[in-house]
């Protein structure tokens, strides 16, 4: 008899909660929260408590599948890998691309980007961080020098003021909401800026209900008040920042009266909230998709950064600018360089020294031409310039904006290979499907939102003939003639990562068996970094930018009078591939819905539970009505988890000019009775 509890990291959001997978004689029997874990402390959200269900779902892929005459047939691994090798080597590097995965480990993401660059000779490697925090990587990169959460989750508890903007923390990062609530009970002030009545708003001292897409104006309004009243941190500005005058000039124009006109938030509220934030000893700003998923995503992020710099709320405990990452390893996938312009550790592909270093380490020549982002891949595929895509653990057919176009693009490819644990909407379009393993069947590391690199551990044997992604990539690379993909275990891959990635330089499995380490951790002696920019910014000085407000790409008009904003619910996760195969979660929310304000519902003469048509310039869906006060008049909300009512058939693929992140949070729609 063997009964054990295997410590691992929850596969859902980026909180990095730990739990034990309970294993009796090789069979998963349940989940036990880990009480000695720093963040989760024996607590989990409903998704975490049920994270073992989908692992043993009868829908798991167990064999490679090849599409023949429109139908999938099972084939051997040998045949499958030969086919990938044959196909991917027949095109020029510019005609192939790779999508890596925020659900896979650091080791797998590193290998995938190495595979793209060293074997396929293309920089076209990207992943869904493009769709969530590309604006953060760019924005905080240029203001602070590091595009990651500045502080640690636990520190939130001791903040004097927490400003949550564009993050439905309770539903998206439940265990971080725990620390917000703890701070509040200790007397911290809470400011929430969100168009919706999210669960946190009932505990907020100030709820600023901005019109969707007006965050830059709101944040400029804060800074206008702070400068007018002289609440800025002059010493910090003098010593640690640059280009303050630029900000000052722009902020002048955004008086509370002006900002009220743009955002719809009463000016008194803006003034009071600004004072609360500015006068707190330590104020922590939290943001998420509500800031980044805009055509002005980078502007929004930079504005958050401006506000923190202005008040000296960076570089100390319980302060900072804290983007919350939405997937268990989306931080790590970025850290590992699964991005078209960066190698691991944010080393630029354009930097010749960096390229030379990787060429030496991998003993091969690397491409210099910049790669495509995921959104650009779809455009190039539609045009016929991109011929083959290798997708690992992503489901763009539900997650990308304007999915009707995505479908056309993917169907236009000559070869699509998808590696996943389920036959997702994307996998259904593939020529070849490779069965990967779930988190429960492999070893590796993942990096939580607060930069903590933690171990995931194999609890059970792979289901069917599925294989861990790192093994599949290695086998493929070897078949394609590479000699630099020989690893006996993920630990060995991590050693290579550490050798070429300064911020991970001190990370090795022997150091992270218990609680993990927070990067930057440059050497084996380094204890890790709980909060960034202490004394000095990663880029030297914190940089201000004067940012003008710009409207969203598509505003409501006579034809499409409502604003659609999209997001997630606490009970489901992303494209639902895992949560919709979990009984406890499906029972709570079995299908998609549209939140609409009762006044709009009255005008449209629609009723609770009625199925209506929602149309945008790009598509049409049918969805169930939920009448509520949660959304303001003129705004509807649809979660994007549900394939039968896919919000992303409506969304606009217009993107931020620099970060290329699409505008999921604002587009114009109309609602019609069926």
């Amino acid at each position: 008899m063997e009964y054990k509890n295997v410590l691992t990291v929850c596969p859902y959001c980026g909180c990095g909660c730990n739990f034990y997978l309970q294993v009796l004689d090789g069979e998963l029997v349940g989940i036990l929260p880990c009480k000695s874990h720093l963040v989760s402390q024996g607590k989990l959200c409903i998704k975490g408590w049920n994270a073992s269900d989908f692992v043993v779902s009868k829908d798991r892929l167990t064999k490679p599948l090849r599409k023949k005459n429109g139908k999938f047939v099972e084939i051997s691994w040998e045949e499958a890998l030969n086919l990938v090798t044959e196909k991917l080597t027949q095109y020029s590097p510019d005609a192939v691309a790779v999508l890596s995965s925020a659900k896979c480990t650091n080791e797998e993401n590193y290998l995938m980007m190495k595979f793209a660059r060293a074997v396929l000779k293309t920089n076209s490697v990207d992943h869904c961080a493009r769709l969530c925090h590309a604006a953060t990587v760019v924005g905080l990169g240029k203001t602070f020098g590091s595009g990651a959460m500045t502080n640690s989750i636990g520190e939130l508890e001791d903040a004097d003021c927490i400003f949550v903007i564009g993050s439905n923390t309770t539903e998206q990062h439940p265990l971080i909401a725990r620390y917000i609530m703890r701070a509040r009970e200790k007397g911290s002030k809470l400011i929430v800026a969100d168009p919706r009545l999210i669960p946190l708003t009932q505990f907020a001292d100030y709820h600023l209900r901005q019109r969707p897409g007006t965050d830059v104006a709101l944040l400029n309004g804060f800074m206008n008040v702070i400068l007018k009243e002289g609440w800025e941190d002059k010493k910090f500005i003098n010593e640690c920042t640059e280009d303050f005058e630029e900000l000052k000039e722009v902020a002048k124009k955004y008086t509370p009266e002006e900002v009220e006109k743009i955002t719809g938030i009463p000016q008194e509220l803006i003034i009071k909230a600004s004072r609360t934030y500015a006068q707190a000893k330590s104020a922590s700003l939290i943001y998420s998709m509500g800031i980044t998923q805009h055509t002005t995503g980078v502007d929004n992020v930079v504005s958050c950064s401006n506000l923190a710099l202005l008040t000296g709320n960076v570089g100390r405990p319980s302060t900072g600018v804290n983007p919350l990452r939405g997937q268990s390893n989306v931080q790590g996938a970025c850290d590992m360089g699964a991005l078209p312009n960066l190698y691991s550790g944010y080393q630029s592909v354009a930097d010749e020294n960096a390229r030379a270093k990787f060429e030496k380490a991998w003993n091969t020549e690397l491409p210099t031409k910049p790669g495509l982002t995921v959104v650009e891949m779809m455009h190039e595929a539609a045009k016929g310039n991109l011929k083959a895509i290798y997708i690992m653990g992503e489901n763009p057919m539900l997650s990308e904006p304007d999915i009707n176009q995505v479908k056309k693009a993917l169907e236009n490819l000559e070869f699509l290979v998808v590696q996943d644990i389920f036959l997702t909407e994307t996998a259904q379009l593939a020529d070849l499907v490779l069965p990967g393993t779930s988190y429960a069947e492999r070893d590796g590391t993942v990096t939580a939102t607060d930069r903590r690199v933690q171990r995931i551990r194999k609890a059970i044997e792979p289901i069917g003939e599925s294989k861990p992604d790192w093994q599949i990539i290695c086998e493929l690379a070897r078949k394609m003639g590479s000699e630099r993909f020989e690893y006996s275990s993920p630990a060995e891959i991590m050693d290579e990562i550490a050798s070429v990635t300064p911020i991970y330089g001190g990370i090795g499995y022997e150091r992270i068996e218990d609680i993990g380490l927070q990067w930057p951790c440059p050497s084996k002696e380094h204890p890790g970094t709980p909060y960034l920019h202490q004394g000095k910014f990663s880029r030297g000085k914190g940089k201000f930018f004067g940012i003008e407000f710009k409207e969203a790409a598509e505003l409501p008009d006579a034809d499409y009078p409502l604003i659609l904003t999209t997001g997630r619910t606490i009970f489901h996760y992303h494209t639902g591939t895992m949560t919709r195969r979990t009984e406890a979660l499906n029972r709570e929310v079995p299908t998609g819905y549209m939140e609409i304000n009762f006044k709009d519902a009255e005008k449209l003469n629609i009723f609770e539970g009625e199925i209506v048509a929602v149309k945008s310039r790009r598509g049409k869906i049918e969805v169930k009505v939920q009448i509520t006060k949660k959304v303001p008049e003129g705004v509807i909300f649809i979660p994007f988890h549900f394939a039968e009512s896919p919000a992303n058939a409506l969304t606009n693929s217009a993107f931020d000019p620099v970060a290329k992140i699409p505008e999921y949070k604002v587009c114009a729609v109309k609602v019609e009775k069926k």
Partner: protein, 285 residues
């Protein structure tokens, strides 16, 4: 004390009194339930772990596995009906054990209990009224916390103030079901908390107060005051404070305390002619 316990457990294993020992194992500075089959492994046997500045970490051994909703001991018994198992229990765990056996959820026949008493400090930390098993093999029986401060404070408040307090506390709920999942006595196949009759599904916070109170009512004669519900709550809702009050009511009304005596039937399972009803063995869906 831990050396003594390890020695005792080893003796049990070596002498063949039991074939396996069920207890907590420490690995990589974390502890978790484990079944020890080898004598050497027992060097990593622990009862709890405390790191400076942190709460003492303990795990109850009798948790309900999900989605099967069967107790882990039950799952083991089903696979290995004849196995002789030594189980290391604290006071709260023995109470859970007795209550589960009383309710046909586990079979005590092949189980040998190794009882361990907790210290007064541990009792205070857990707000535990009875920090020892009936017959501890290790440790001394010390007095538990008989008057709970939190319950006292609340009872001193007026009714409307109390209502406001609970309304606030329960409005934090994010519906993780952790209170139920962590409860050793929550083993129902059809859980009242999941039924739309009581609380609309798919919403947070769930309906106040019935979503939580239906559970307290349901556990009135089962709750053994281990406090695992409260410890599992991400929002720090003081659930143990309610449990304590409900348990007190049951004691005053029926002179019944759960978890103390295997032979004592629950008053809520007694029919009008005072013949006890038998609780149905949870047999899965």
């Amino acid at each position: 004390m831990i050396e003594k316990l390890q020695k005792l457990a080893k003796d049990y294993l070596i002498s063949g009194k039991v074939e396996v020992i069920f207890g907590l194992r420490e690995k990589d500075n974390h502890l978790a339930p484990y079944i020890f089959t080898q004598v050497e492994e027992l060097d990593s046997l622990v009862i709890s772990s405390g790191q400076a500045g942190m709460q003492t970490v303990k795990y109850p051994l009798f948790y309900t596995c999900r989605p099967s909703k069967k107790n882990i001991i039950r799952l083991i018994e089903e696979k290995y009906p004849a196995i002789k198992m030594g189980v290391i229990v604290k006071g709260c765990e023995e109470r859970a054990f007795i209550e589960l056996a009383k309710r046909n959820q586990i079979n005590m026949e092949n189980i040998e209990i190794l009882g361990v008493a907790c210290s007064r400090e541990e009792a205070i930390e857990c707000r535990c009224p009875r920090p020892y098993p009936n017959h501890p093999l290790l440790g001394e029986k010390v007095e538990g916390v008989l008057e709970d401060k939190n319950v006292g404070e609340l009872l001193n408040k007026g009714l409307s103030e109390r209502l406001a307090f609970w309304q606030f506390q329960l409005s934090k709920c994010m519906k993780c079901y952790g209170c139920r999942n962590a409860c050793p006595l929550c083993f129902c196949q059809d859980c009242a908390m999941e039924q739309e009759l009581w609380s609309k599904i798919g919403e947070i916070p769930p309906e106040i107060p019935i979503f939580h109170f239906i559970r307290f009512y349901h556990l009135a004669d089962r709750c053994i005051e281990c406090g695992e519900c409260e410890k599992a709550c991400p929002m720090d809702i003081p659930l143990l404070t309610i449990s304590k009050q409900v348990r007190k009511d049951v004691k005053e009304l029926f002179n019944y305390e759960s978890g103390l005596d295997l032979k004592q039937e629950s008053p809520l399972l007694t029919t009008l002619d005072e013949r006890p009803m038998k609780e149905v063995k949870n047999d899965g869906i």
